[in-house]
C-alpha cells in the first residue's frame, strides 16, 4: 500500500473541507456587512466587526487556496514517487532472481537519485505547507476573537440584537469547525512520510 499517497489524499480531503467552511465565512462576512448597513447607527460597532470578518475571510481564503495548490503538488509528487518505487521494486525482484551485473546497478542508482531528489522536494513542500498552515491557524484563532467581539457588539444593536447575535453565532460555529480540522492537518503533516 502506498502510504505516502494515501496520506497525501487524506490531507487534500481535509483542505477541501476547510475551504468549504472558508467559502461559508466569506458569504457570512458579506451578509453581516449588508445587515449592519441596513440597521444603520444601532449596528455601528457590529459593522466594524462584520468588516473584520470579511477581511479575515479573504485572508483565510488566500491561505486555503495556497494550501490547496501545495497539496495538489504534493499529491503529484507522491504519485511520481509511487511510480518510481514500483519500478525500483521490479528491479529489486529482478536482481534477486539473477546476477544482473552492472546494468541493473546503474538503473537502480538512477532511480535512487530521482528518489532522493523527490524526497528533497517533498521535504521543502512539507515545510511550505506547514508554514502556510500556521498562518491559516493564526487567522482562524483571530476569528474566535472577532466572533466574541461581534457577539458583544450585536447586544448593543437594540431591536436587532437577536438577529445580529445569531449571525455572530453562525460565524463562531464555522470558526469552531475549522480549528480542529487545521489542528488535525498539522498532525497529519507531522506524520506524513
Amino acid at each position: 500500500m502506498s502510504t505516502g499517497l494515501q496520506q497525501a489524499v487524506a490531507i487534500n480531503e481535509s483542505i477541501k473541507d476547510v475551504r468549504g467552511h472558508c467559502r461559508q465565512i466569506s458569504l457570512m462576512g458579506l451578509n453581516a456587512l449588508i445587515l449592519a448597513q441596513g440597521v444603520g447607527q444601532d449596528a455601528k460597532g457590529f459593522a466594524v466587526m462584520a468588516n473584520e470578518v470579511r477581511q479575515l475571510s479573504i485572508r483565510l481564503g488566500k491561505q486555503m487556496d495556497l494550501l490547496h495548490h501545495l497539496s495538489i503538488t504534493m499529491l503529484k509528487l507522491d504519485s511520481i514517487t509511487s511510480r518510481g518505487e514500483r519500478r525500483r521494486m521490479v528491479f529489486d525482484r529482478t536482481a534477486q532472481l539473477r546476477a544482473t551485473g552492472n546494468y541493473l546497478d546503474k538503473l537502480q542508482a538512477r532511480l535512487q537519485q530521482a528518489g532522493a531528489a523527490a524526497q528533497k522536494e517533498a521535504v521543502r513542500l512539507r515545510s511550505e505547507l506547514g508554514s502556510t498552515l500556521d498562518t491559516a491557524l493564526q487567522a482562524a484563532m483571530y476569528g474566535i476573537a472577532i466572533a466574541r467581539q461581534a457577539r458583544i457588539e450585536s447586544a448593543y444593536s437594540h431591536s436587532h440584537a437577536a438577529q445580529l447575535g445569531a449571525v455572530s453565532d453562525d460565524f463562531r460555529r464555522e470558526i469552531d469547525a475549522i480549528l480542529p480540522r487545521l489542528d488535525e492537518l498539522q498532525k497529519m503533516l507531522e506524520h506524513k512520510t
Binding site: 499517497l5 489524499v9 504519485s79
Partner: protein, 244 residues
C-alpha cells in the same frame, strides 16, 4: 495540467471528464479519462498509462476523494488504457478492474491478480455503482478483439473507448466537438486503420443507434453531443474500415 470538467450533474449522479493535458509531452497520445460518481461511489474509465498517472490522479483528487473509486473500467488492453493499473492498486488494493474476459490473463502483466480482474462476458453485462446500473456494451474488434463500451442509461452517456477518437492537433483544446465536418477529418484516418472489421462496425452502429445517447465520449479527442452523436454513428456506418 489535466483538469476535471463536469459533463453531467443531477443530484448525486455526476460524470466528469479528465481531459487535455497541456503539459503532456508530444510523444504520448492524449487521453480522456471519465469519472462516474453516484452517491459515495465512483468508477473510472480507461485510467490511462503509467506515465500520465500523476496528472490523472492529481486531477481526480481536485474533484473527488479518490478513495470513493470502487472500480476501473478498461475498454480493452492497450497500454494507454490500463498500464497504470499497478499504481492504482498500490493506492487501493481493493479496486476491481472490469475488462473483457479475453484479457484476464494478459492484464496482470500490468499488475493485479485474479481477484482484481472482473471478466466481462462477450455479450456484455451490467456493472453496479452505488444504486446505479451501467451497461458494458460489446464493441468487439473496434479495435480490440475483446472490447467494451460503457453506457449510462440515466445520464444518456456512452463511453466509447477508441470509437469516435480523433487525433487532434496540439492547439485544439475544445472539450466538445464544435464543428463536426472539420472535426471528423481528424478521426477518419484513425478509424480506417484501427477499426478492423466492417461487420463488427455495422453491428456496433446498430447497437448504438438503438440507445438514447446525449453524449458520446471517446478516449481520445473531443466529445460528441446532441445531433453530432447520430451524425457520428451514420458517418462511421458509411466508412470503410480495415484499410491501411
Amino acid at each position: 495540467m489535466k483538469k476535471a470538467h463536469t459533463l453531467f450533474s443531477e443530484g448525486q449522479h455526476r460524470w466528469l471528464a479528465i481531459s487535455r493535458d497541456p503539459e503532456r509531452p508530444n510523444h504520448l497520445i492524449d487521453t480522456n479519462e471519465y469519472v462516474i460518481v453516484y452517491g459515495e461511489e465512483a468508477g473510472l474509465t480507461d485510467p490511462g498509462g503509467v506515465e500520465i498517472f500523476p496528472a490523472v490522479f492529481g486531477a481526480i483528487c481536485e474533484a473527488i476523494d479518490p478513495n470513493a473509486i470502487r472500480w476501473l473500467f478498461s475498454s480493452h488492453q492497450d497500454p494507454d488504457v490500463i498500464s497504470s493499473l499497478a499504481l492504482w492498486l498500490e493506492f487501493n488494493p481493493a479496486l476491481r478492474c472490469h475488462i473483457s474476459g479475453l484479457w484476464k490473463t494478459f492484464i496482470p502483466h500490468f499488475g493485479g491478480d485474479e481477484n482484481t480482474l472482473v471478466a466481462i462476458p462477450d455479450e456484455g453485462t451490467s456493472i453496479a455503482l452505488g444504486g446505479l446500473d451501467l451497461q458494458a456494451i460489446p464493441a468487439h474488434y473496434l479495435h480490440s478483439s475483446g472490447n467494451f463500451h460503457l453506457y449510462d442509461r440515466k445520464a444518456r452517456i456512452l463511453f466509447s473507448g477508441d470509437v469516435g477518437a480523433a487525433l487532434l492537433p496540439p492547439e485544439s483544446s475544445d472539450l466538445y466537438v464544435t464543428n463536426f465536418d472539420k472535426h471528423i477529418r481528424f478521426a477518419e484516418g484513425f478509424h480506417r486503420r484501427w477499426m478492423g472489421s466492417n461487420s463488427a462496425k455495422r453491428d456496433w452502429c446498430e447497437r448504438a443507434a438503438a440507445l438514447e445517447i446525449d453524449m458520446l465520449c471517446p478516449q481520445h479527442g473531443a466529445i460528441y453531443q446532441g445531433d453530432d452523436v447520430m451524425r457520428f454513428i451514420n458517418w462511421f456506418d458509411a466508412l470503410k474500415v480495415g484499410i491501411v
